[in-house]
């Protein structure tokens, strides 16, 4: 038998946790191979290693005949593999339309446009997505998202298709359509191998070959029938549970009948609930009544309005129409009492990962106002009841998903609520843990009379509910006991009944029968053309995403203008109208003449006189007074007598720059006053030397002439850097980074591609800022415009590159924004010549300034604006800035790993 992937002694560790423990396995080629097993046993790790998106730690992995330890081999094999990561539509860009997403993937594989168009048309036809080519991926239902993900995986005719839990969280109809589609495609591409990890045992029944995994090891392998025989069970699920070494409680889950109490107030009553978002109706006139103690299952595909309904039941959302009654009382959003009666568990893990298991429980016990004397006892009780005693002091992140879910349930019941609202609590949890979870739910319902409202995609779970309802596109299609619905639909199973109901609503299988196979011989393209296409794929996608986020686009374009306007007017070293006051104790014509000297120049604005030191001190203390002049009694007289009278000038030194300037003005003024007096009285002593001060480059000594060019430097450092700072890390957070890892795109193509749109925007901003500087702030432009604009390109490449560099190192958008702001603002504001000339900085200051692009660009803006610089004066700066571009790109590329650790 041919093998598509061979593993020999493969081990993988995350910190101290062992994910894979010396796995040796051969996966047959040309078949549907499945990996089954509980959560956290290493299925995803194994798939990622086979696909080459995770870095191999130990052992030998051969995929499609290539050794995945070698980068060259990975490069050759990447175009032949399609990898669909776990999580519904995780590799799709939500703001891009169906067609745009597929275009993006086609480009990543370097396909020319006509080939891409043909393939996309075919795939859309085959998957039934053809009617919605322009719908944004984020607005697709779960099933459609999954189909789109599959299309994107199939766009390059892979030899190996790797699917990691592709149908988790998808409704039964979409699930069935999905597998039919895979079968059809395999029918036409017999050579294609498929490896799937799944938590649905009934799906695994239809695979050709299975490997059952537990605790990082393969415990059984072979055809489904062989596995059933090994485990000894009628279904694969039973067999699997028996194969597990530690399983002792594998009795089936039974639901004891519920005692009906007639006439009791129903626990939940929903009347005509409707919720509209704009003109989209998410929930349309939904009503139900749930008696106390019932387990009510709420089924439907993702995006059908289930979560919105639940949010209205918990009071998180106010309905547009209709009302909810809990135990007969109307629910209001701000009602604290009703919240005490509800326990809620949201779809994703929403507890605090920074608190330990016990701290989480205690915090919730406190917030739900459990009295201090019983609090510790209740926490202990819950720890025992939910089997979390051993994990009490661990952080939730280190727990397997099943235990996390148990913790969430424990938190939801800590205050003994009468109603539990659970949103897909078992999604992604393995069968064993799910059974365990359900036993707890049934106990809560039957023994404690808790009403449970639960959503699920598992049909065997739906069968355990007292009643269920099926929702589609905001409407309830079916409601009743599971057996009742099966009978009404005339189906054999609940799954069949649901598919029937959905098909009634949506029409029969809308997917075309045409096989999605591209027959035309692919046109050969040079490696460089392909590289450019891949680079363009990222540029184009980043541009579209930016265009679809108008708020971000607005900030990106308006931010620089607003900054230049406020700071251009606001930062001025033209010290005008310094508040000044006099205490004239002399009141002679001479003293008046001296005061007039001060009042005459515009730099001083005279305020009301002061009478005492204390008054002056007070006013200066409040910052009302910058300069105070005190002329003593007898000033005029002693002046006449030829004595040298003494006057005092007080200056507020709290703002040193202003104080220095004020002193400078006062000195200059007194000097010229003395000179004039001397000339008038004929006294000698005035020196004949004329000291002439000439202001170069800025004759009028206007702040704006120097500040505006420098501000352009500052603005083009900060805004572009922060724009690009989220670009890479956002992909890491949303999971679309998987596309970068699993396709042939190179690191530099990825980085440069994502950088281009920001460079274009930033360079556009440069022109706007330069124009504002020239015509609004009236700064003369005397140098070479081509030099300035040319170097501006280098500068914005460097600054956006800086953002990407930070983005490549950080793991969250928050820390990327934070780090970019902190690292760029401080040196650029202080050390790049914006305010203090670089030549008079200390050596450290100068070095810090020159370590950033701003310190090299500031002389260029100032030089070309007011000093008449051309290329020759700024050639060095241009070279250094080009160096920054390259260094940032190189370091970012090094920090960005093509494989996950």
């Amino acid at each position: 038998m041919d093998l598509v992937a061979e593993l020999d002694g493969v081990s993988h560790r995350y910190g101290r946790t062992t994910a894979l423990d010396a796995v040796t396995l051969g996966i047959p080629a040309g078949v549907m191979a499945g990996l089954i097993g509980p959560d956290g046993v290493g299925k995803s790790t194994l798939l990622a290693l086979i696909a080459g998106v995770r870095r191999r730690q130990d052992g030998r992995i051969v995929t499609l005949g290539e050794d995945m330890a070698q980068a060259g081999a990975r490069g050759r094999v990447a175009p032949r593999i399609a990898y669909m990561p776990q999580g519904l539509g995780r590799n799709l860009s939500t703001t891009l339309s169906v067609r745009e997403n597929l275009d993006f993937f086609g480009r990543l594989f370097g396909q020319p446009s006509e080939e891409r168009a043909a393939r996309i048309a075919m795939l859309l036809e085959a998957t039934g997505l053809a009617p919605f080519p322009d719908r944004p991926a984020g607005k697709l239902s779960g099933g459609m998202k999954q189909k789109l993900s599959l299309c994107s995986a199939l766009i390059h005719d892979p030899d190996l298709l790797i699917l990691d839990e592709p149908t988790t969280g998808v409704d039964p109809l979409s699930r069935r359509q999905f597998w039919d589609l895979i079968d059809r495609i395999r029918g036409h591409m017999p050579g294609m191998s498929v490896i799937v990890a799944t938590a649905y045992m009934e799906e695994a029944e239809r695979f050709d070959w299975l490997a059952a995994m537990d605790a990082g090891r393969v415990i059984a392998q072979g055809a489904p029938a062989e596995l059933r025989a090994q485990g000894g069970g009628n279904t694969l699920e039973e067999a699997f549970i028996r194969l597990l070494p530690q399983s002792d409680d594998h009795s089936p889950v039974v639901l004891p009948p519920r005692e009906d109490r007639d006439g009791a107030t129903p626990a939940i009553e929903a009347q005509g609930l409707t919720k509209r978002f704009g003109d989209f109706t998410a929930v349309d006139n939904v009503s139900f009544t749930i008696p106390e103690g019932e387990i009510f299952g709420f089924l439907g595909s993702n995006g059908c309005g289930k979560s919105t309904t639940m949010k209205m039941l918990t009071g998180l959302l106010d309905p547009s129409e209709g009302e909810t009654r809990l135990f007969g009382e109307e629910l209001k959003a701000s009602d604290m009492q009703s919240r005490l009666r509800i326990g809620y568990m949201s779809q994703s893990f929403s507890l605090y990962t920074e608190l330990t298991v016990r701290q989480n429980l205690t915090l919730h016990a406190e917030l739900y106002a459990i009295p201090p004397e019983t609090r510790a006892a209740r926490v202990d009780e819950v720890l025992d009841a939910y089997g979390l005693r051993d994990e009490a002091d661990m952080l939730p992140d280190g727990l397997p998903l099943g235990q996390k879910q148990r913790l969430q349930l424990a938190v939801a019941v800590i205050h003994k609520p009468r109603i539990l609202i659970l949103d897909e609590p078992t999604s992604g949890v393995d069968p064993l843990a799910r059974d365990d979870f359900w036993r707890r739910l049934i106990r809560l319902s039957r023994e404690e009379g808790v009403t449970i409202f639960i959503t699920t995609h598992f049909m065997n779970e739906a069968e355990r509910c007292d009643r269920i309802s099926l929702m589609h596109a905001g409407k309830v299609l079916e409601m009743g006991a599971p057996a009742e619905i099966v009978a009404r639909r005339g189906a054999e199973t609940l799954e069949g009944a649901f598919i029937d109901a959905l098909e009634d609503e949506m029409g029969r299988d809308e997917a075309g029968a045409e096989p999605p196979v591209y027959n035309a011989a692919p046109r050969r393209r040079s490696a460089a053309r392909q590289a450019l296409t891949r680079l363009w794929a990222y540029s184009w996608r980043e541009t579209l995403e930016l265009m679809r986020d108008p708020i971000r686009l607005f900030f990106a374009l308006a931010g620089p203008v607003i900054l230049l306007l406020t700071m251009g007017y606001g930062i001025s070293f033209d010290v005008d109208e310094l508040s000044f006051a006099v205490n004239d104790q002399d009141r002679s014509p001479e003293s008046r003449a001296l005061i007039d000297e001060f009042a005459a120049i515009r730099q001083f604005a005279e305020g009301p006189p002061f009478a005492s030191f204390d008054e002056m001190n007070d006013r200066m203390g409040q910052g009302e007074l910058a300069v105070a002049l005190e002329i003593p009694d007898g000033y005029g007289r002693s002046l006449h007598l030829g004595e040298v009278p003494e006057v005092s000038i007080w200056i507020d030194g709290a703002m040193p720059f202003r104080a220095e300037t004020a002193r400078g003005y006062a000195m200059g003024l007194l000097q010229s006053y003395a000179a004039r007096q001397a000339a008038e009285t004929g006294t000698s002593g005035a020196t004949p030397v004329d000291i002439e001060t000439r202001f170069l480059f800025n004759q009028a000594f206007r702040s704006a002439n120097a500040m505006v060019p420098s501000l352009i430097m500052l603005i083009l450092m900060l805004i572009p850097a922060i724009m690009s700072a989220v670009s890479v890390v956002r992909e890491k957070e949303t999971g679309t980074i998987a596309n970068f890892r699993s396709t042939p795109v190179r690191r530099t193509e990825f980085l440069i591609g994502k950088q281009i749109p920001y460079v274009v925007i930033a360079w556009g901003s440069f022109w706007v800022l330069a124009a504002l500087g020239r015509w609004l702030f009236d700064v003369p432009f005397s140098g070479s415009l081509t030099a300035l604009s040319g170097i501006a390109v280098l500068y914005v490449i460097a600054t956006t590159g800086f953002g990407q560099l930070i983005s490549s190192f950080t793991r969250t958008q928050v820390s990327a924004v934070f780090a970019t702001a902190v690292i760029s603002i401080i040196p650029t504001v202080n050390f790049s010549g914006l305010i203090i000339p670089v030549s008079s900085m200390s050596d450290t200051g100068r070095m810090v300034g020159l370590a950033f692009p701003g310190g090299w660009f500031q002389p260029v803006t100032v030089g070309t604006f007011v000093k008449g610089f051309g290329w020759s004066e700024v050639a060095l700066n241009a070279t250094v800035l080009a160096g920054f571009c390259l260094i940032y790109l190189a370091v970012a590329a090094l920090a960005l790993r093509k494989q996950e650790a």
């Binding site: 978002f277 949010k311 998180l316 604290m336 809620y344 605090y352 920074e354 915090l363 106002a369 708020i551 900030f555 931010g559 700071m567 007017y569 606001g570 930062i571 010290v575 007070d618 203390g621 409040q622 910058a626 003494e646 005092s648 000038i649 507020d652 030194g653 709290a654 720059f657 300037t661 400078g664 000097q671 003395a674 006294t683 002593g685 004949p688 030397v689 004329d690 000291i691 002439e692 001060t693 000439r694 004759q699 000594f701 702040s703 002439n705 120097a706 805004i719 956002r730 928050v814 924004v817 934070f818 603002i825 401080i826 504001v829 305010i835 000339p837 670089v838 030549s839 450290t844 810090v848």
Partner: protein
């Protein structure tokens, strides 16, 4: 009462979240130590160490004397250059001031003719050039009159005694240190508080909190308290240990009053961070919004250039929308002028009002924003 206890419990939880964020903590330590130290020591608007070149074409005793008179701390030691070199070097920004002493300067002066000295100023260095030039002019005038009339009484007509209140030597490092601290506080608080909200929204944990018997105001206040406490502690430690202890910059005034004002400032800025977060839906948007706000709040606070130099509309506008001008005025009064509570109550009130306004907007938008 329950509300207060809940808020404190949530605050504790927020503090734990901050403690586990290593990147944040490293950056915070950096800004409160290295950045404050670096900026305070190396960057200030006071005239200090100004670079000067001298083009001496006279080569006389007097010209050497004049050259020697240009000394620290105001000026770096002057560098003798040829006229061409001086012009070129000044153009590329290596010297802010160039003193040109013409040939035969001393002889002309002795012969009673008129002699002219020229100071060439690189006027693109606006922050220091003007004051630097006038100081250089005075130094030269003094030196020449000493030369003309050795030992003689300076011919001053009026003896002016300059006295400086509050900061006798115009030492800018006091000021720069406090302004840099404020800058750091602004950056950290805005981003920390705003991102704590956006992060919860992006991860869906806020939903979980909202179904609990907790009011939005408790959530919001707990975020402000946690962010505020950490940053306030950082800035006070930085002020006392780094600024006062290591750099030896004396801090006058009542520390408790400064802490009170800083606390109000942090609360106001944190509220504004949350408010901005409520108007944006992802970190990309928030980052682009927060950067201009940080820059404007810092640069136009009156801490870098005097408020008096701004156009009236901008000055009044800043005082209305930003707490930073109030905090700068407050810090100057408390830390330099040793002013008491009475002198700063107006600024404190202004910051408090801004905090309350921003908080009301956050709370009004809270549910609506989270619903989407």
């Amino acid at each position: 009462m329950q509300a207060v206890i809940n808020t404190l419990r949530l605050t504790l939880k927020e503090l734990r979240a901050i403690r586990r964020d290593t990147v944040m903590i490293v950056l915070m330590i950096y800004v409160f130590t290295v950045a404050v130290y670096l900026v305070t020591n190396a960057a200030s608007t006071e005239v200090k160490d100004l670079s000067v070149a001298v083009v001496d074409e006279d080569h006389s005793q007097l010209s050497r004397r004049l050259t020697d008179a240009i000394r620290g701390p105001l000026f770096l030691d002057p560098v003798p250059l040829s006229p061409e070199a001086a012009a070129a070097e000044q153009t590329v920004g290596n010297y802010v001031l160039v003193l040109a002493i013409p040939p035969e300067f001393e002889r002309d002066l002795r012969s009673g003719g008129s002699a002219t000295l020229q100071i060439l100023v690189d006027a693109t260095a606006v922050a220091q050039a003007g004051n630097g030039a006038s100081f250089l002019q005075q130094v030269l005038a003094q030196e020449i009159s000493d030369y003309a009339d050795p030992g003689g009484d300076s011919a001053a007509l009026v003896d002016v005694v300059y006295r400086t209140r509050f900061n006798p030597n115009f030492t800018a490092s006091w000021f720069t240190a406090v302004m840099q601290l404020m800058n750091n506080v602004t950056i950290l608080t805005l981003i920390l508080s705003g991102s704590s909200m956006i992060r919860e929204r992006e991860h869906g944990t806020i939903e979980h909190v909202l179904v609990m018997p907790i009011r939005p105001v408790e959530i919001v206040l707990s975020k402000i308290l946690a962010t505020g406490a950490v940053i306030l502690l950082g800035s006070v430690l930085s002020l006392t240990i780094v600024v006062e202890g290591i750099m030896g910059v004396p801090v006058q005034g009542a520390l408790w009053l400064y802490v009170l004002g800083a606390a109000l400032y942090v609360v106001a800025v944190a509220s504004m961070g949350l408010m901005m977060a409520s108007f944006t839906s992802n970190m990309g948007q928030f980052g682009l919004l927060v950067i201009p706000v940080i820059i404007v709040m810092f640069m136009l606070s009156g801490g870098i250039t005097p408020l008096e130099s701004m156009p009236a509309w901008l000055r009044v506008g800043m005082q209305f929308v930003s707490p930073s001008p109030h905090f700068v005025a407050f810090s100057q009064t408390v830390l330099y002028r040793g002013g008491g509570f009475g002198l700063v109550v107006g600024h404190l009130a202004a910051m408090a009002v801004m905090a309350v306004l921003a908080l009301s907007i956050v709370l009004a938008r809270f549910r609506r924003v989270l619903a989407n």
